[in-house]
Every structure is written in structure tokens, then in C-alpha cells.
């Protein structure tokens, strides 16, 4: 198993290198000259710009700049400094990532805690009115844009009831509203997916066998049916968690939470290409890690896949995506 994890990590490096190279090259072709941007607003004489280009090393040929950049990236995880205000991108990301992580983790937990039982219940009671109503409500939540939901939640819980702070960062209670606003959106998709995979398993023979052993309905559904329906559900959870690591931009802007979202949005807004490149490489890296974790969880949940990983190593074949 460990060999499998190592193998996947080794495959990771080329993927990220490709991402880094793509982003670095892309940002070279984007309009706007980094030196001018570094000098900020107002107009500058030509030699000032030239001086700045020299100090930023922009005159070196593309290949050496790329080599330097990748060298820094791999050996000391240094994404370089921001063009606009010269701050270290690494520190900015390490300051901001915990906030995004808290929202992402919170939202995933809420999605699972609410979505899973709801999905199972609607599957067990398929096509009854309860099934139709909960699907309709989650669909309704799905349709409402997140900034609208965020605002309504603040007006109700922060202002009217005064239970929670309205915005900013601090203790855990600052993250309650953003997490709810962020997770309501994805609930419909998650519930529907759980319902679909549960429906498939509920009608299979193994459930009938379990029932014939005299187990209670709860033991049959949660003990036998759910473990077998987990694989597609875990894929959805992994995919959504990976996406959220890119920063729930809208929620972070509404609740003034300094996460990766606003950092990248401002970076794109002020053409701060080193920030954008660094941010996206970091997100790609964390996304790939989450994908690897999801695959590992597969093995944990389903022994057949674990066997496949272990067997795959001995034969040296490629794990089929």
C-alpha cells in the first residue's frame, strides 16, 4: 500500500511541473508589462521602467527565468514575491490558507452530516412526498446564489438574533455562517448523488440477505447498504473538497475572510501575475493531494480496491483512473 502512495506521489511531480510551466508561460503572454505594474499607478519615464525591469530580472531569457522559478518552487517552495507590493507569496498563502481550509472543512462536514442522511432517507423512501419535498428544497438552496444566501443568513442570525458575528475572522463562531452559506449550495447535488447510489444498492441481493438475517432496518441500511454505496459518494466529496480549497471566493468576499479566493481575485485584478501563478500552483498541488487521499479512502472502504492497489504494484501496471 505504501508503495502505491509513493508511486502516486512520484506521478504528482510531473503533473505539477506541467501546471507550473503552463501558468508561467501563460502569464508571459498576458497584456501589461510587469515592470510598469510594479511601479504602480502614475506615469514613469522610460529609464525608470528599464531600471525596474533589470532589478526584477525580466530581461533574462525566458528559459533561465523559468528554470529559476521552478528551481525555487521545488527546492524551497518559494513562489517568489508579489509584483505589486513585493510581499512574499509564500507567507501570504500560509497566512490565508488556514481560513480557506476552515471553510472548506466545515462545509464538507456540513454537507456530509446533512446530505448523507438526507440522501439515504430519500433513497429508502424513494418517490414518496418526503422524497420529493427534500429534493425540491435542496434544489431551491442550490439555485440561490451564495452571496444572496450569505446576506440573508447574516441578517437573520447576526443582526436579528445577534447570536453570531456578521463578518471578519476570530474564533470558530466567526466561521459558522460562512460555512453554512457555502455548504447549502452544494447540498442538492450531493444528496441526489447519495440517493442514486443508495437506490442501486438497496435493490441488490446483499441487502435482502442482510434483512433475511433478522437485522433491524437501521442496521441493514447503515450497516450493509451504505458501505457499498460509498464509492461514488466519496468521489463527490473529494471533488468538492478539492474545489473548495481554491477558496470559496464569493463567501470569503462577503464575510471579509482573508482566504485564497480574494487573494487570487485581487491578484488577477491588479495583474499581479506571480501571485496568480503561485496561487494556482498551490491550489493544483492541494487538489492533487486531495485526489490521492480520496483514492486511499476508496481502498479503506472497499477491500477489492485495496487488493487491486496491492496486486497492481506487484504486476507494475498503471492504476486505472
Amino acid at each position: 500500500m505504501i508503495r502505491y502512495v509513493v508511486k502516486r506521489l512520484v506521478i504528482l511531480i510531473p503533473t505539477l511541473l506541467v501546471v507550473a510551466i503552463i501558468m508561467f508561460t501563460l502569464m508571459d503572454f498576458v497584456p501589461g508589462d510587469p515592470a510598469v505594474i510594479a511601479l504602480g499607478s502614475g506615469n514613469h519615464t522610460q529609464e525608470e521602467i528599464e531600471l525596474k525591469r533589470e532589478s526584477m530580472g525580466l530581461n533574462k531569457p525566458y528559459i533561465t527565468r523559468l528554470g529559476e522559478y521552478l528551481g525555487n518552487l521545488i527546492f524551497h517552495f518559494d513562489f517568489g514575491t508579489s509584483i505589486v507590493d513585493g510581499t512574499q507569496i509564500k507567507t501570504a498563502i500560509s497566512d490565508r490558507f488556514p481560513n480557506t481550509l476552515k471553510i472548506a472543512l466545515g462545509s464538507i462536514l456540513v454537507t456530509i452530516i446533512v446530505g448523507l442522511p438526507l440522501g439515504v432517507r430519500t433513497a429508502v423512501r424513494a418517490n414518496t412526498w418526503e422524497d420529493k419535498i427534500s429534493l425540491f428544497i435542496t434544489l431551491l438552496l442550490d439555485c440561490m446564489p451564495s452571496f444572496w444566501v450569505g446576506l440573508l443568513l447574516v441578517l437573520l442570525f447576526a443582526l436579528k438574533l445577534g447570536w453570531l458575528p456578521s463578518s471578519g475572522v476570530g474564533g470558530l463562531k466567526y466561521f459558522v455562517l460562512p460555512v453554512i452559506a457555502n455548504s447549502l449550495g452544494g447540498l442538492a447535488g450531493f444528496t441526489r448523488q447519495t440517493r442514486a447510489s443508495m437506490l442501486e444498492v438497496i435493490r441488490s441481493d446483499l441487502v435482502t440477505t442482510a434483512r433475511s438475517k433478522g437485522l433491524s432496518e437501521r442496521e441493514v441500511i447503515y450497516g450493509h447498504a451504505l458501505p457499498n454505496a460509498l464509492i461514488p459518494i466519496i468521489t463527490i466529496v473529494g471533488m468538492r473538497f478539492g474545489q473548495m480549497l481554491g477558496g470559496a471566493t464569493i463567501i470569503e468576499v462577503i464575510f471579509s475572510i482573508p482566504g485564497l479566493g480574494p487573494y487570487l481575485v485581487n491578484g488577477i485584478g491588479s495583474q499581479d501575475y506571480t501571485v496568480v501563478t503561485g496561487g494556482i500552483i498551490f491550489i493544483a498541488f492541494s487538489f492533487a493531494i486531495i485526489m490521492l487521499l480520496t483514492d486511499l479512502v476508496y481502498a479503506f472502504v472497499d477491500p477489492r480496491i485495496k487488493a487491486q492497489y496491492v496486486a497492481r504494484n506487484r504486476k507494475g501496471g498503471r492504476k486505472d483512473e
Binding site: P31, G32, D33, V36, I37, A38, L39, G40, S41, G42, N43, H44, E48, K52, T81, V84, D85, G86, T87, Q88, T91, A92, D95, R96, E130, I133, S134, I137, L140, L151, L152, L153, V154, L155, L156, A158, L159, K160, G162, P165, S166, S167, G168, V169, V253, I254, F255, S256, I257, P258, P262, Y263, N266, I268, G269, S270, Q271
Partner: protein
């Protein structure tokens, strides 16, 4: 046969929760009534309608009166999430609020038009400044200046800081005027300027943030940005990127209150800066007493004005909006008739309303009526009021049929949509096909210097001392590669400008004003009245050129911060 489970109320509960969320959200107007008392003018000191918000000279309240009730803490919500505390940085919302709180400068400008010669400048680090000739000044500084880590500040540190600022290029004024510094003694040095222009020395004295060279060169990047050795009256604690920081009063080297400039007061022990970029969230934070002070949009203002627990302070926005015509041959606006047609086709007050404000001052020149050399009777003569018939006539004269003329409006993405959409709507109804091209902030600045990308745009500038300096910033060919900010190459314009700059006689000022207005190269629009809402414990705010000086806020005896 399956026994029906009894959890029917689960779905009902969810539906009920949904409805009350909707009602609470949208019922804002409805049940906000309990504290609405019919919009009568509240007890707070509200500037009456029409009183010109011109700031001639802020008589800074006498030091003793300010220090009467020192406060423990004040929590300020700002509309900007780039939290910056380092010595050298670009100007931004947070930077303008805290630069003088954290960093000492040689001098401070308490009002528009304050100059060195007439003693308007308040000296901070500089003990005395003597002018040797137009481009060199000899400055003597106090000998007991220290920063928050105790490093002493000498002349060498000051020259180092000014050189560093000009190298990094964050403050354009320093780059345009500061040539070099020459250390003469431990506490004395000479400043050499690139040009003897009026106001040049003030820009260097006022904008040069000073820090200790020894500390700067020894500190790591993170320390410089997040935990700097500040030379101003406050130091930084609890720095959170993108979210806020806390400024704490430090034992300041200048003890004699009389020498202190308004920025050197320490009237509150702790200043907490909280970044809340969403306007509606700022008013919620204020109502929910999470902050003591916040800038509020006009739309949310009404619920605070009618509430005795809050004070509303109105002030003229330091940035003045004006419209620029691209008069180069690559644009349709090279024809004066087209420019005038566009000028007559829209109404400026509608633009102001569309910007979400209901108060403000319409301009009769690109420069607001706030400078000593502004000619008051400009405000009386007619200034391109909306006249659709005349606009259509001018269009015909320029040879365009209805809807044939296509105008490209360049817009900055972060500027509010309201004014541009209403401008577009008015132009369209006057038969001019207008299109809005919106770009992000820095791409917008790049395209502004490219005469093939736009026909008209709205830009804003801050007036610092005189109308002539404001004019030269916009029109003088020295500042732009070709012609003026609107690419106008007009020798007559430059001649009149030079004359006005040399001698600010009314006759010269009128000549330039009339010429460029008649040629319609640029037209002044407005500066809206902004409003800051504070909790009632705060008696008055120290507002200089549109920026709050938090350390000089005047508190009531019963003041207590929300936190």
C-alpha cells in the same frame, strides 16, 4: 403495510426555516421601523443642506480640548483588504488611514494649500527647514527621535529612507521631485530636488516615510511587513494579512505637546482596523455593534441618521471626478463639435445620483472650488448643462446622423457601475451609440495611456495645494508622453498653462479655464459627499483631506468601545 414513520415534521421544519430566513432578509425595511422616527433631522451634528463642504482650513481643535477624554480602544471598519504596515507601500484605503499613525515623516500638511513658506506645514521630525535655493533645502531634525524598538533615528536614516522610497517607486511624488539627500551632521542633512517647482519640497517632506536603516536592513521580509519598528506614535500588534491589525500607542519620543502635529496625538490607546469590503456588511457590523466607526453608503445611511445612538459625519470626497476626451486622431473626439455634443448630452447630477449618493458638489472646472487660487465666479457661468437639442444639432454639424457616432467609454472594473450605465443611457437617448469597455484596475491604467483604446473616460484626482498644480498634473506635456492626459497637443494650451502657473492672477486663470473649457478637452463632474457613521460616544472626527486621523479623534466622557 410499512408503518409510516412519524418524522413528517422534519420537512415542515425545513420549509418554515426557509420562509423566516426570506422574511427576515427582506423584511429589513419593514421591521426596521422601531427605531425609525420619520427622518426628522437627528440630534447628531449633521451638516445642513447647501453649506459648502469646502474645507478652507481645518482649525485643528486645541490640543488640550482633544486630549480631554483619552479612550482605551476604537474599532474601525475599512473598505479595503490590503492590510499594509511596512514603511514603504502604495497608497490604499488602509495605507491612507494609518501611514501617519505608524510612520513619522519630516512634516505634515493639515489642510489643502498648506505651504512651507507661510508656515502652514506642521513639523514632525524636522526641527527647522531653511531654504538655500529653489532646489536645495537644509533640514535640522530633533536629536531624540527613536522608533518602537528603541533604535535612534539620525540624518543618515532619513536620507536612506528617502533614497529607498525613490528606488521602490511606490510614491510618485517622491520619484518626480526628490533628487538626493546629503548628510551634513548627525541630525542635519540637505535635500536636493529635481525641480524647483512650487509644492515640490512639500511633497517630499510630507510623503517621505522614515524608518531606521539598521533595522530595515536587518529585518526579514515578514518582519518588515507585519511587525515593523515604527517611527510614528503607534506600533503594530496582532497583524492579520487581509483581515486587519491593531495599532497600540507607544512611548513616543516627542513629549512636549505644543510641538506636536495633529498626527502625533495619542488620544486612544488601541486602534483596531477591521477590513469589511462589502458595504452592506459594514452597516450590519455597525448596527450589530461590532465596530465603532465605518464608512457607510448613502443607501444604508437613512437607518443611522434617524437613530440617536449613532453620529453621522459628512465630508467631501477628496477625489474629484472629471471626464477626459481622447483628442488624438485615432478617436472620433478629435472633432471639438463631437466633444461638445457629448458634453451637452448628459446631466452630471444624474451621474451623481446613479453613484448611489444624494449629496455632493457639481464642479465648474476640473478642479474643485477648494483651493486658494480658485476663481469663484466660474461657479456662476453656465457649464455644459444637459441640452439634448443642442447636442443633436452639434452632432449634425459634425456630420453624424442619429446613432451613427460610436463612442467607446473606458471603465475601471472597481469603479461603481451606476454613473457609467446612466451616462451610456443618456448618450444613447441623445443618438450617440455608447459602449462601455471595462478592464481591471492595472489593465485600465495601461490602456489609459493608449490613445487607440478609448474615446472618453472618467478619472479622478486629488487636489493638494493649488488649482494650477492640479491643472498641470492633468494638462502639462511634461507629465505625459504625447500631449495631455487626453493626448491633446495644443501649443496655445501649454502657453496659457505656463502663464497661469507662473502668475496666479485671475486674468491668467480665467484665460486658461475659458480656453480648455471652450475647447472641451476635459470637463469637471463632481465630488460626492461621503459619510462616516460612528457610535454616539465619539464626539468628533479629525478629517484631513478626506482621510481620518484616528489618533486625534475626540471622545465623549461616557465613551466605551464595542469590543
Amino acid at each position: 403495510m410499512k408503518k409510516r414513520k412519524e418524522r413528517k415534521w422534519l420537512a415542515l421544519l425545513v420549509v418554515v426555516a426557509m420562509i423566516c430566513v426570506m422574511l427576515a432578509g427582506c423584511g429589513g425595511k419593514g421591521n426596521g421601523a422601531e427605531n425609525e422616527n420619520g427622518g426628522t433631522s437627528s440630534a447628531s451634528q449633521e451638516s445642513e443642506e447647501g453649506e459648502s463642504t469646502k474645507i478652507k482650513a481645518d482649525e485643528a481643535a486645541a490640543v488640550s480640548e482633544i486630549m480631554e477624554n483619552p479612550a482605551e480602544k476604537i474599532v474601525i471598519a475599512v473598505d479595503d483588504d490590503t492590510i499594509v504596515a511596512g514603511p514603504f507601500a502604495n497608497s490604499s484605503g488602509v495605507r491612507n488611514l494609518t501611514v501617519y499613525t505608524l510612520w513619522g515623516t519630516l512634516a505634515y500638511r493639515p489642510y489643502i494649500g498648506a505651504m512651507l513658506e507661510d508656515g502652514g506645514l506642521e513639523l514632525v521630525m524636522a526641527k527647522s527647514i531653511t531654504k538655500e535655493d529653489d532646489t536645495t533645502y537644509d533640514v535640522e531634525i530633533y536629536d531624540n527621535i527613536t522608533d518602537s524598538l528603541g533604535n535612534s533615528i539620525k540624518a543618515s536614516d532619513i536620507v536612506f529612507s528617502l533614497d529607498k522610497l525613490s528606488e521602490l517607486g511606490y510614491i510618485t511624488y517622491i520619484n518626480t521631485y526628490y533628487e538626493s539627500g546629503e548628510v551634513v551632521g548627525d541630525y542635519e542633512f540637505k535635500i536636493h530636488l529635481k525641480s524647483g517647482e512650487e509644492g515640490a519640497i512639500e511633497q517630499v517632506l510630507v510623503n517621505g516615510t522614515i524608518c531606521s536603516q539598521e533595522w530595515y536592513e536587518g529585518a526579514s521580509d515578514d518582519e518588515i511587513q507585519a511587525d515593523p519598528a515604527t517611527t510614528g506614535p503607534y506600533k503594530v500588534t496582532n497583524f492579520q494579512t487581509g483581515s486587519g491589525m491593531t495599532l497600540e500607542a507607544r512611548d513616543y519620543w516627542k513629549t512636549n505637546d505644543d510641538d506636536k502635529s495633529v498626527v502625533e496625538y495619542q488620544n486612544v490607546k488601541q486602534i483596531v482596523i477591521k477590513s469589511i469590503t462589502e458595504p452592506s456588511m459594514r452597516s450590519v457590523a455597525l448596527e450589530n455593534s461590532e465596530v465603532d466607526l465605518a464608512e457607510i453608503n448613502a443607501i444604508d445611511l437613512e437607518r443611522f441618521e434617524s437613530n440617536s445612538e449613532y453620529h453621522v459625519t459628512k465630508y467631501a470626497n477628496a477625489m474629484n471626478d472629471y471626464m477626459i476626451f481622447n483628442t488624438s486622431d485615432d478617436s472620433v473626439c478629435s472633432d471639438v463639435k463631437v466633444r461638445q455634443a457629448v458634453a451637452y448630452a448628459f446631466d452630471t447630477w444624474t451621474l451623481l445620483l446613479a453613484n448611489g449618493h444624494d449629496q455632493g458638489e457639481l464642479h465648474h472646472d476640473v478642479c474643485p472650488n477648494a483651493t486658494p487660487d480658485y476663481v469663484d465666479d466660474w461657479d456662476e457661468d453656465p457649464y455644459y448643462e444637459m441640452d439634448v437639442e443642442k447636442a443633436k444639432e452639434l452632432l449634425k454639424e459634425a456630420g453624424y446622423t442619429e446613432g451613427e457616432l460610436k463612442i467607446r467609454i473606458l471603465k475601471n472594473a472597481s469603479a461603481p457601475n451606476g454613473p457609467y450605465e446612466s451616462l451610456q443611457a443618456m448618450l444613447i437617448s441623445a443618438g450617440i451609440d455608447a459602449e462601455i469597455n471595462q478592464y481591471d484596475r492595472s489593465l485600465f491604467l495601461t490602456y489609459m495611456q493608449d490613445n487607440t483604446m478609448w474615446d472618453i473616460t472618467i478619472y479622478s484626482e486629488q487636489v493638494l495645494d493649488f488649482t494650477t498644480t492640479y491643472w498641470s498634473a492633468l494638462f502639462s506635456e511634461k507629465n505625459y508622453e504625447h500631449g495631455t492626459q487626453g493626448f491633446t497637443e495644443d501649443a496655445e494650451l501649454q502657453k496659457l498653462l505656463a502663464a497661469a502657473c507662473a502668475d496666479r492672477s485671475e486674468e491668467n486663470m480665467n484665460a486658461f479655464h475659458d480656453y480648455y473649457t471652450e475647447q472641451c478637452y476635459m470637463i469637471g463632474l463632481y465630488n460626492e459627499t461621503k459619510s462616516i457613521v460612528t457610535q454616539s460616544g465619539i464626539k468628533s472626527l479629525c478629517l484631513v483631506r478626506g482621510d481620518i486621523v484616528p489618533q486625534a479623534t475626540v471622545f465623549d466622557s461616557g465613551y466605551a468601545s464595542v469590543e
